[in-house]
């Protein structure tokens, strides 16, 4: 009706509601919002809650209901089995508005500065400074925390100031009158910019500049505290990161960079600059960035750092400014003290003043007056005669008169003998008495001479030996060469120490003791006293036997030792040489087992249990898992063990009743080395023994033959001279030979062979061996011309022996092989003929080794010896290989055909000869 009335009479119509906006041209009529979408939202865009608004309420939805168009449906059931974790417990906070939270005592979730901590003095400058500092800082926003955490309360000072009328933003101090003409702060002078809000302060300043009321005083400008930031970075001093204000706004003209990078100045500058450089193009300038394409001024960009800017010479700073840094204190130092004092006076520190009284001068003691009769030449006391017996006396003297004693020692250093020096040096003494020159001779020479001469001829011996040794060059032990002697003494000492370690009779301690004393005695060269050390309770024969044993032991040890020490310096770890691989677990002593067996106590006593590593393939073939899957060992594990641990190389000669044929003792002794190694083969298993004996027989036989031919008188004389102690051992050893001889074919066979085959080749070898023996024999000859023909004959014997030795290998190569073939039954398992002959050559090599004392050979031999302990053929084969590898063709050659012996064996012989010769020849040169 209203509408109608409105239509009819428009003036007095009353209109209700707000009129719709008139439709503009071309505008489409809006679609009316459907009723269900007409929702009410509050200022924050949330649905206004109507329903249950006081209890939290809920927002209305469809047609302002909680339901939907389809009606209210509860949320569909979701099994909590799958998404158990998603289930959240809704608390009342979830339905509350954020602004209501605090009302209900629920803590706010985000960090805000509460009023308590909000700084009361919030000056905008600081904020701005902080803002900019935050930008400038390496990590933007690090300073943000400063805003958050401020002093909780106004400090007392501030409060007092306030009470006194200070206002924030003002400086502190008496009020001042503004100067009429106030310059802008000169950037070069370190005046800090005003702390007033820039716009205001500057404006006010400007105003002040314009008109200044006369009687108005102003508070002094506030001073921003100097920001004394500690240097924490590794940048250079004064380094500043690229200032964004400079870089961004192109304030390249402002070159003043003060060290105090206070934010305030920066801010003011920045702000000012910002204002000033409004019109400027934003561009990056500076050396770091180069020049933009639109930059006009490009003269400065490639600022070349010319070398002329730098100092090229290190020199003292130019004096004149008087400011010497700590780096240039030279001039001060060079100056005298008085000057310095003067200087110091000039720059005395505050609180200090010059002493009025100079310190007392240090006392100077004048040198004592010389006595009138003083001569500046030192007078030594008479030197106390050097000698063992005087040692104690001298020591006492030293103790009593310290200085003089030391003087004498210094003086008599050269007069001391070795033992005294040793005493001085605090070294361990030799076991025996001071060693004689004899000590330095090789054992063999010594032995030979010792045996040759009788005990009464000791003096003569001592005379000969040095000479001989000098000539033979094996032992450069010249007594005049003191230093060398000293060295040699040390060597001897070592050898002695070693000999004490070397205990061949370790099983029998008593015997060992006897042996040691024997050795000591031997060193002394006291032949006669040897018997004292033997067990008196023993029978004569036993004694002789033991002595022979001792001889061998000592010889074996000494020969190796002396030869080594004479030719070479001592290795640090010589033990390695002496060690040999032996099974780690030796089957232990048979003796107690024997008794156990006798007592029928089998079990633990008779059982030995070892770790044994079977071959992998063997395990595989046996369908057995490898018990030691990660071990590379096969068989029994081996360890290094001392070579000399057991009396391996010296065995007791078998006692037999047949005593015949006294071969001369010289040979015995000369071949003692051979002997020493020969028995080593005897103590292996019987079969081995037999085999080897069959070979060694030849040697011994040939040897003895030669000896018999050449030396019957000597032996006779010797035997009567040396007495029972010496004859007994020879007998014993002869017994060995006899024993051997018992089981071998007749001598005729060998004789025939000797004669037949050794004609041409032995002649050549003889020549060679003669050559070899030339020096020694000649030496002996020259020495002993005045003497009886004893030593002469000894030299002969040496020669003869060598001849024999060199002849018999070639000769007996064929017999051995033949014999081996023949006598397989007798000698147990026969070796392949080639094998035996090869071994023969080795034997020969040994002989030459011993003769030449060539270290290599010796070692070689030792190896063989020790390996022979194991006595396994396999190893022997290996040895053969080794020998071959060593380039000694003898085995190879002889192995190839032992039947065609003449040519081949002579070949091998010559090989050996050359090998034997070469070291000697070398030595001679």
């Amino acid at each position: 009706a209203a509408a109608e009335s409105g239509d009819s009479e428009e003036e007095d119509l009353v209109s209700y509601g707000t009129a719709l906006q008139p439709l503009q041209e071309g505008e489409r009529i809006k679609k009316p919002v459907p009723l269900q979408e007409q929702t009410v939202k509050d200022a924050k865009g949330r649905y206004q809650r109507f329903h249950g608004a006081f209890t939290g309420g809920f927002s209305a939805g469809y047609f302002n209901t909680v339901g939907t168009k389809e009606g209210w449906t509860p949320s569909a059931f979701v099994s909590s089995r799958q998404k158990r974790a998603d289930r959240t417990v809704l608390g009342p906070e979830d339905f509350m508005d954020e602004e209501d939270l605090s009302e209900f005592g629920i803590a706010p979730k985000d960090i805000t500065t509460t009023d308590d901590f909000a700084s009361k003095a919030k000056d905008r400058i600081k904020e701005k400074a902080r803002q900019i500092a935050g930008v400038v800082a390496a990590i933007p926003g690090t300073t943000a925390f400063d805003d958050l955490i401020g002093p909780s309360k106004i400090t007392v000072g501030v409060e007092l100031l306030r009470k006194m009328g200070w206002k924030e933003g003002q400086g502190i101090g008496p009020r001042v009158k503004r100067k009429p003409r106030r310059q802008k702060p000169d950037p070069a002078v370190k005046v800090y910019g005003c702390a007033l809000p820039p716009g205001l302060s500057e404006g006010s300043e400007d105003e002040e500049d314009e008109y200044q009321p006369e009687n108005v005083t102003f508070a002094p400008k506030d001073v921003m505290p100097v920001d004394l930031t500690p240097k924490e970075n590794v940048h250079g001093l004064g380094y500043k990161g690229l200032d964004p204000s400079q870089a961004l706004f192109g304030v390249s003209g402002r070159q003043h960079l003060n060290l105090f990078t206070g934010g305030s100045e920066d801010t003011s500058n920045l702000l000012g600059d910002l204002r000033h450089s409004k019109g400027r193009k934003l561009g990056i300038t500076g050396q770091a960035f180069g020049v933009g394409a639109l930059e006009e001024e490009d003269d400065d960009i490639y600022a070349t750092e010319t070398l002329s800017k730098y100092d090229t010479v290190l020199k003292d700073e130019e004096p004149g400014d008087g400011l010497y840094g700590w780096t240039a204190p030279k001039q001060y130092k060079s100056k005298k003290r008085s000057e310095r004092e003067v200087k110091y006076i000039g720059k005395i520190l505050d609180g200090f003043f010059l002493a009025s009284k100079s310190s007392t001068p240090s006392k100077i003691y004048p040198p004592p007056d010389l006595p009138r009769n003083y001569r500046p030449v030192h007078y030594f006391r008479p030197v106390i005669a050097a000698g063992n017996e005087n040692c104690c006396l001298r020591k006492a003297l030293e103790e009593s008169t310290g200085k003089i004693g030391s003087d004498t020692t210094q003086q008599s250093r050269h007069a001391l003998n070795a033992s005294q020096r040793r005493e001085r040096l605090g070294e361990t003494g030799l076991k025996g008495p001071a060693p004689s020159v004899l000590e330095y001779l090789s054992e063999k020479d010594r032995e030979r001479l010792k045996e040759v001469k009788q005990a009464s001829e000791q003096q003569m011996k001592a005379k000969i030996l040095p000479q001989q040794s000098r000539n033979s060059r094996f032992q450069p032990a010249s007594p005049d060469d003191a230093s060398h002697k000293w060295q040699m003494l040390l060597g001897g000492q070592l050898a002695n120490a070693g000999s004490s370690d070397f205990k061949p009779f370790a099983r029998n301690p008593e015997k060992q003791k006897r042996y040691e004393s024997f050795v000591r005695c031997l060193k002394q060269g006291e032949k006669d006293t040897l018997e004292h050390y033997l067990d008196p309770s023993m029978t004569e024969w036993e004694r002789g036997r033991e002595q022979e044993e001792f001889f061998r032991a000592a010889m074996f040890y000494k020969s190796s030792n002396s030869t080594l020490s004479s030719r070479f310096t001592r290795a640090k770890y010589e033990d390695d040489v002496d060690k040999v691989e032996v099974p780690r677990d030796q089957e232990n002593d048979i003796d107690d087992k024997e008794t156990a067996v006798k007592m029928k106590m089998f079990g633990k006593l008779t059982r030995d249990k070892f770790e044994w590593h079977p071959e992998k393939l063997l395990c595989k073939r046996f369908n057995v898992p490898d018990p030691y899957p990660d071990s590379s060992i096969v068989g029994l594990p081996k360890v290094k063990r001392d070579k000399y641990s057991v009396f391996n190389f010296l065995t007791l000669p078998e006692p037999t009743t047949s005593v015949t044929q006294a071969t001369n003792e010289n040979i015995q002794q000369n071949n003692s080395l051979n002997k020493a190694k020969k028995p080593s083969r005897w103590d292996v298993s019987d079969k081995e023994k037999e085999k080897k004996d069959s070979i060694s027989e030849f040697i011994s036989l040939a040897r003895s033959k030669a000896d018999v031919q050449q030396q019957p008188p000597v032996s006779a004389t010797e035997e009567c001279g040396t007495g029972p102690s010496e004859t007994l051992p020879t007998e014993v050893t002869n017994e060995d030979k006899d024993q051997e001889e018992e089981s071998r074919p007749s001598m005729d066979l060998f004789k025939a062979i000797f004669v037949s085959s050794s004609d041409e080749k032995s002649s050549s070898s003889e020549e060679e061996s003669d050559e070899e023996q030339q020096p020694t024999s000649s030496v002996i000859d020259s020495e002993t011309t005045k003497q009886v023909d004893l030593p002469d004959s000894s030299s002969f014997s040496v020669q003869g022996k060598i001849v024999a030795a060199s002849t018999d290998p070639g000769v007996s190569l064929s017999p051995t092989s033949k014999q081996e073939l023949d006598a397989t039954e007798e000698f147990g398992p026969k070796l392949p003929p080639a094998f035996s002959s090869g071994r023969f050559c080795r034997l020969l090599a040994y002989k030459f080794c011993t003769l030449n004392r060539k270290e290599k050979h010796r070692k070689h031999r030792e190896k063989h010896k020790t390996k022979r302990e194991h006595k396994h053929k396999k190893e022997k084969k290996k040895k053969h290989k080794k020998q071959k590898n060593k380039g000694k063709n003898k085995n190879k050659k002889s192995e190839k055909d032992s039947s065609s012996d003449t040519a081949d064996s002579s070949d091998s012989l010559s090989d050996i000869d050359t090998t034997g010769l070469s070291p000697k020849e070398l030595l001679r040169r």
Binding site: P583, E587, I590, K593, E594, A596, V597, K598, K600, M601, F602, G603, K604, T606, R607, D608, K609, F610, E611, W612, H613, P614, E615, L617, L618, C619, R621, F622, N623, V624, P625, D626, P627, Y628, V634, G635, L636, S685, D686, K687, G828, P829, K830, L831, H870, K871, H872, K873, K874
Partner: protein, 281 residues
């Protein structure tokens, strides 16, 4: 060999395969250079191995009679030879005091492993599934346990002539030259029994255990074969096999049946001939 066949070897450098039950010679294998000292057959009767004084170990094919392989490496006479269970390894013991294990499968000329612990010649070797038992002249019985990786060495004293395992694998029987047989506990080495009465001083005589470990048998130099009760140690039986030395014995693996070889001392033509016997021990 095993039950049905008998293998003999002798100084005529040949092996002969017999049917002991019928007494017929089946085959002769020739190829050794010296007297054949021991022979053994494989589990499947397809192969033979033999060893001899020519220091070789030969592997034979039974059917063709040819030497399949010859193993050279021993430095002395080879005294004894044995197959392992699967005939993949030949174990031979030699007078050179080594026991060598030869591989039958591959063509390797050298032994798989050399057991050189013995100090003297090895006179007898026996092989079980994982053990090698060797008796040596140095008076020790050595048992190499492959599974445990151990070597057990039992000292007997006098030279061992023959060793053998008991059927149950618990004991080892060792015959030595002091005319004694000793039964040793395999694990501890303790003496379980001692059997004397026969004569064994010079020859390498065999000893056996009967098929059920009830009796201990040994050849003797007096021409008899002696049997003792294993537990009591009392002499149970002595068989007069021949006049001279009975050298070799072997017991049937399952049946109470014994093979004894005696020496016909006929001018060294032939040292050994085997007499098949069907007697129960």
């Amino acid at each position: 060999v095993d039950g049905n066949y008998c293998l003999t070897c002798g100084s005529d450098k040949s092996l002969k395969l017999w049917n002991p039950h019928k007494g017929t010679a089946l085959r002769t294998y020739q190829g050794h250079g010296y007297e054949v000292l021991d022979a053994a057959g494989s589990f499947d009767n397809s192969q033979l191995c033999s060893c001899g004084a020519d220091k070789t170990v030969a592997l034979w094919d039974v059917a063709t009679g040819q030497v399949v392989r010859k193993y050279r490496g021993h430095a002395g006479k080879v005294n004894c030879v044995q197959f392992n269970e699967e005939a993949t390894i030949i174990v031979s013991g030699s007078i050179d005091s080594t026991v060598r294990c030869w591989d039958c499968r591959s063509r390797r000329p050298d032994p798989v492993q050399v057991l050189d612990e013995a100090k003297d010649g090895v006179s007898s070797v026996k092989v079980s599934d994982h053990e090698i038992l060797s008796g040596s002249v140095d008076g020790r019985v050595r048992r190499y346990d492959l599974r445990a990786g151990q070597l057990y060495s039992d000292y007997i004293g006098s030279p061992i002539t023959s060793v053998c395992f008991s059927k149950d694998g618990q004991c080892a029987l060792a015959a030595s030259l002091d005319s004694t047989l000793r039964l040793l506990d395999k694990e501890t080495g303790e003496l379980l029994g001692e059997y004397t009465g026969h004569r064994s001083t010079a020859y390498r005589l065999d000893c056996v255990l009967s098929e059920q470990d009830t009796h201990v048998g040994s050849a003797s130099e007096d021409g008899n074969v002696y049997f003792w009760d294993l537990v009591e140690g009392s002499l149970a039986l002595s068989l007069a096999v021949g006049r001279s030395v009975v050298q070799s014995l072997s017991f049937h693996p399952t049946l109470p049946c014994l093979l004894a070889a005696t020496e016909r001392h006929v001018q060294l033509w032939r040292e050994e001939t085997f007499q098949p016997e069907g007697d129960a021990a």
